[in-house]
């Protein structure tokens, strides 16, 4: 299996490293000139090109690690060439784009695998497995928190709502997908967002309450408002017969983190824990397996689309100050 990785930024590099743990070979990197893509290609003995079309004939899979607003375009081009697609989360900037991507891949008879990597983080996966097998009864109240600092890339597409969808679509979407994976479909979303820095319309701290069809409720916190170099994730799942808690850093009576001593050079931080295999490698091994033997991966394109729908509902709720209802199929009513 030969892969083209589109996008040579942070996630392009992370995926390249992860692919090296599979039987697949990276044939090419696709990126913009002068952004370090040729060096990355050198590391993996792959070609570097600036146009996907130049390598499409030479690969089986296109792995899209670009900024979010480019996911749809590259997916449609790959599907048109009958290539399987792996796409970073969120699947798309909008629900409409995501739907078109799914339809195009279905028509072309190729797979569309969305990299909701949280489903491959062992602590999250174990908690979901234990919940699914009934160890804590029915999940009832979930709390999911993901707090880090504002991305500081030179071309800072993360904080541009036109390119990333903003913090809720880029960051909170991880926990949205996880809440849905654990507690089922979401029928109502209410969210509030604050902006502690940056330009207007760049909400960087948001709280959302999700109501699941089965009666569970979820509290989501997403933040780009923490001082660098923090990346803290916490979660708990309270069920009818027990509680699973991932408390994050050792709790103290009082913790305070002030801005000012910008304590790292990281542009963007990823959560890390010492493991024999990174969750990104676990994810790509699962995707490689799905593509080579036709099995279903633990996250579908429809899951990715549902997460975008809920994130969009949260953004809309925060803007309008009202809850947003999602109908039975997870679609918004007309």
């Amino acid at each position: 299996m030969r892969v083209a990785i589109v996008g040579t930024g942070l996630m392009g590099g992370v995926h390249a490293e992860a692919w090296s743990h599979t039987g697949a070979r990276i044939a090419a990197f696709v990126g913009t000139a002068g952004a370090g893509g040729d060096a990355l290609a050198g590391t993996y003995a792959a070609r570097f090109v600036t146009d996907l079309d130049a390598v499409l004939a030479d690969v089986d899979v296109v792995d899209i690690c670009t900024p979010t607003h480019l996911h749809a375009e590259f997916t449609l081009r790959a599907a048109a060439a009958a290539k399987h697609v792996i796409c970073e989360k969120p699947i798309a900037l909008t629900v409409g784009e995501g739907r078109r991507m799914i339809a195009a891949c279905r028509t072309a008879g190729v797979r569309l695998l969305v990299a909701h990597v949280l489903r491959f983080f062992p602590e999250y996966r174990l908690a979901r497995e234990m919940t699914a097998r009934g160890d804590i009864g029915a999940p009832a109240v979930l709390r999911l928190s993901r707090c880090t600092f504002r991305p500081r890339k030179t071309d800072n597409w993360y904080v541009d709502p036109e390119r990333s969808g903003g913090m809720m679509l880029d960051l909170m979407v991880h926990d949205i997908d996880y809440a849905r994976w654990v507690a089922g479909d979401v029928v109502r979303v209410f969210a509030k967002a604050a902006q502690t820095s940056g330009r207007p319309d760049e909400a960087d701290h948001a709280l959302a309450i999700l109501t699941h069809r089965g009666g569970a409720i979820s509290h989501l916190e997403g933040s780009w408002a923490y001082p660098p170099p923090i990346f803290q994730t916490r979660f708990e799942i309270a069920g009818s017969a027990g509680l699973i808690e991932f408390p994050g850093p050792a709790p103290a009576a009082i913790e305070m983190h002030l801005r000012g001593g910008e304590g790292s050079n990281h542009e963007v931080q990823l959560p890390r824990s010492p493991l024999h295999e990174s969750p990104y490698a676990t994810q790509l091994r699962a995707f490689h397996e799905a593509l080579t033997s036709g099995t279903d991966p633990p996250v579908s394109a429809e899951d990715g689309l549902a997460a975008v729908r809920i994130a969009r509902a949260a953004i809309e709720s925060a803007r309008r100050g009202q809850p947003v209802e999602l109908d039975a199929s997870g679609e918004k009513p007309p």
């Binding site: 109240v141 209410f190 509030k192 709280l207 009818s240 913790e255 983190h257 002030l258």
Partner: protein, 333 residues
Amino acid sequence: MIRLGIMSFAHLHAEAYVENVRAIPDAELVGAADDDKTRGAHFARALGVRLWPTYEDLLAQQLHGVIVCSENARHRALVEMASRAGVHVLCEKPLATTLTDAHAMLEACKQGGVSLMVALPMRFSAPLLEVRRVLEARRLGEIFCCVSTNQGQNPRRHRDWFVDKRLAGGGAVMDHTVHLVDTLRWYLRSEVAEVYAQTTDLLSGGNGDVETGGLILLTFANGVFATIDCSWSRPASYPAWGGLTVELIGQHGVMRVDAFRQNLTIYPERSPGIHWEYWGSDANQGMIAEFVSAIRERRAPTVTGVDGCRALEVIVAAYESARTGRPVRLRME
């Protein structure tokens, strides 16, 4: 000597308050009364407190103040009785289960010329006070939002009436919302303008009568928003009764306080399993001391029935929001 009495042992905090009163040199616990004779006799004996046959008998002992620890729905009757006897009142939270009762209690105490304090001990928590000093010094700058939790074990393990809607007025929302509403009002110096809430009865032990979990999103008049998790989401095996946390997101940074995190972790060879032993300062002691000081100094206490009333308004709105799925605006006075 400030002479104090306890009206009812229905609320489990009564047991702690007995020790708090005894620790104050110029306060005297004259005795207690309870409409449940069995319960009264049991706790009076266990705690070494003199039990008077009726509330009237207790109130006839020239008391300066009483601590009302009855079931939530019975607060009004006991507070009115005390106010008629000219005795100052410290009432367990929530102040009442309906706004009609709460307003009547405020009025009765005003008529009786007595002060009405409500048991909101978090105002006396050392870690929470430390955070208030940081906020007052504006070290976090402008505050944008807060995330708070007051999760606990289902209190029916101590007293069954907590899951009886008639007596408790509700479940987790009624039980665990007031501390944080009050703390947030105190921290933000603003009143709640809007309330959104969703509840669940999926956590066990609600008896089919009351909600066992809830998530509330408040918006304050100054624009700050805050969530409260009031769920009874701590299982019987949890190493403590529960806890209370507040996270604040500010202009200059973030801060998180975990009010009961000053504890030792104990790992016994046998049951009852891992548990936490708290070594931090006792917030209840500060609260009871303030009640006594206010009586001694003939002034209003720092936390009053009005604060209890504000918290109850939020609870009532939360139940309405949970029922309709819509945010509820509060009428600002």
